[in-house]
Symmetry: C2
Subunit: 338 residues, 2 copies
């Protein structure tokens, strides 16, 4: 019997995870949870996903909106083998007791604190550590992007120290109320940013310092990466290594892709759902080695790079596949890789 | 007799340098050169600066605009002890033969190639090297900002290696035709950016790698700085050292200055001409030391930080003051330092 998956929260991440789960031959999406009947709730119904109300008091609102409910989130959690919590940051923590009450293992997103869970997860970094855990956090978009990059570098060359400046988008395209406009903000102004310690939830012994800024852009984050390696490969060897990974896209020299706008155009031209880019996008020309210092730029799509990681985390927690099998199945069904 | 200074080019940099020269007790601004009669040419007349036409064919245009000319730029150069070329990038190189023909030593701006000149200049970095040189380049805003920062660090602690990501404004506030909008562009995408080699024109032996990006902001550049030091001071010692410098502004913790917008507001409130910020603006809270790695954020005002450097370079070339005297005089007359 296939894995019965519930997705609680059907916003930016939840709707993408639901679609990805629906593609998996070994999984069944038993429903999605919503707090209110907005356009995304309508979308769930259109997609044929059973819709569950997160808050009992609001059941009437769904009725008034003409949206048929399959029940409450509590009922959905009870029926599920595993729940993916894709609620806004902090709400996942509020939901933990519900999942515990029904003995349903749960995945949380990177906006939750690391100490909420037993294990923080990245498929390329530490798949096996999640097996059997009740509460697992799929790390944030930026930490996912850094983990995918650092794992092969660590294995192949050894990492003496990573130093990363994250030039972060101010908000997602639909988050109209966020800033900054016309400014470059050190954010946080105190160091390190949370990203370095967050990478250490995946790789506890890796030396990494991170600095964050926010700028007036919405499409993707961009990382300016320095990694001091323990050996000194040439740049072409590093390019080959990164190209061999399955969730990195080495932007070819001369492709005419100069930033996030062109990357999104590229994704749309290739029919990607919601113009999603699940891969780390690394500019091939930027990969440089000076002595033992590796440098590169990579762009990270904040809305979607964690989606395949959530799918893999389901199998990891339930122990139904090993890392290689799961990653291959997820990549194949989602058509990951340009 | 005071130094007879001509300023050729009266745009973003030229008009600021002219005003600063006019403030110096040991200098006389004998005129400014313009190619065409726009609002800035009118400003020169309003300020009482003799106006010289750069292109003989266009003298009629100035007449038609009702702007009285004092003569041609060639006549101005002949009369000057030194000329500050503040023309757009590349035009300085075209003008070099004119200055040579009149045996007038010349300063150029950072947009010109380093090999156009005998010496690249930063007052804090290498004042004495410019003495007696015929052609001197005042390095760009970003290189000036890096030189001011690295000079004291090198002297006090020794620099093993500097690694800097420059998050650059797309254009100046009045450059309406420039981008990017809503994007974060690796620029240049190949490493290193020109800033590292440019710093090496001031400090030839300093190990530095730089990466550049462009974002949708116009007010200031922001540098994410890492310097691996040869010794390991604590962060407070570094703050003190940077606070002792005369052209660095350590933004106090709790000042409510989170980015370039607030910095410009701060400058305007204090009556700065054109809201100029001549100093490196270093966020005190960002100054961090991890092992031998120093990190900090600094903002650099692209339109004005080179202005005091141009004033000092005049004295350096003509040998009329040493570094300490010149910097003190320039700072005093311009009221540099918050």
């Amino acid at each position: 019997m296939s894995i019965q998956v519930a997705v609680n929260g059907y916003g930016t991440i939840g709707k993408r995870v639901a679609d990805a789960v629906a593609l998996q031959p070994d999984m069944e999406l038993i429903g999605v949870g919503k707090t209110r009947p907005n356009h995304e709730a309508e979308l769930a119904i259109e997609n044929g996903y059973p819709l569950y109300a997160a808050i009992e008091d609001r059941i009437d609102l769904f009725d008034e909106a003409g949206l048929e409910l399959a029940g409450t989130v509590e009922e959905m959690v009870e029926a599920a083998d595993i729940v993916v919590d894709a609620c806004p940051s902090g709400i996942g923590a509020d939901n933990k007791s519900l999942y515990e009450a029904h003995d349903t293992p749960a995945l949380y997103q990177g906006g939750e604190d690391a100490d909420l869970v037993d294990v923080s997860f990245n498929a390329r970094g530490n798949f096996d550590e999640a097996t059997g855990a009740d509460h697992v956090r799929v790390v944030s978009c930026n930490t996912t992007g850094l983990s995918r990059l650092l794992a092969p570098l660590q294995e192949e060359y050894g990492v003496e120290k990573a130093r990363v400046t994250l030039v972060r988008r101010g908000g997602d395209p639909a988050q109209t109320g966020r800033g900054p406009i016309n400014d470059i903000l050190p954010n946080p102004v105190s160091l390190p940013s949370h990203h370095g310690p967050d990478v250490n939830t995946i790789f506890p012994d890796l030396a990494i310092d991170t600095l964050g800024l926010k700028v007036p852009a919405t499409l993707m984050h961009t990382h300016s990466v320095n990694v001091t390696l323990e050996s000194t490969p040439d740049a072409d060897a590093v390019r080959e290594l990164l190209d061999e990974q399955t969730r990195t896209f080495l932007i070819p020299e001369g492709a005419g892709i100069d930033g996030a706008g062109a990357l999104k155009e590229f994704a749309m031209d290739r029919g990607r759902p919601r113009a999603d880019i699940w891969e780390n996008c690394i500019w091939s020309e930027s990969v440089s080695v000076e002595g033992s210092d590796l440098y590169l730029f990579q762009a990270i799509h904040q809305e979607s790079d964690v989606v395949p990681e959530n799918v893999d985390a389901i199998r990891a927690v339930l122990g139904t596949a090993d890392a290689a099998e799961s990653i291959e199945r997820t990549n194949g069904t989602m058509e990951i890789g340009f």
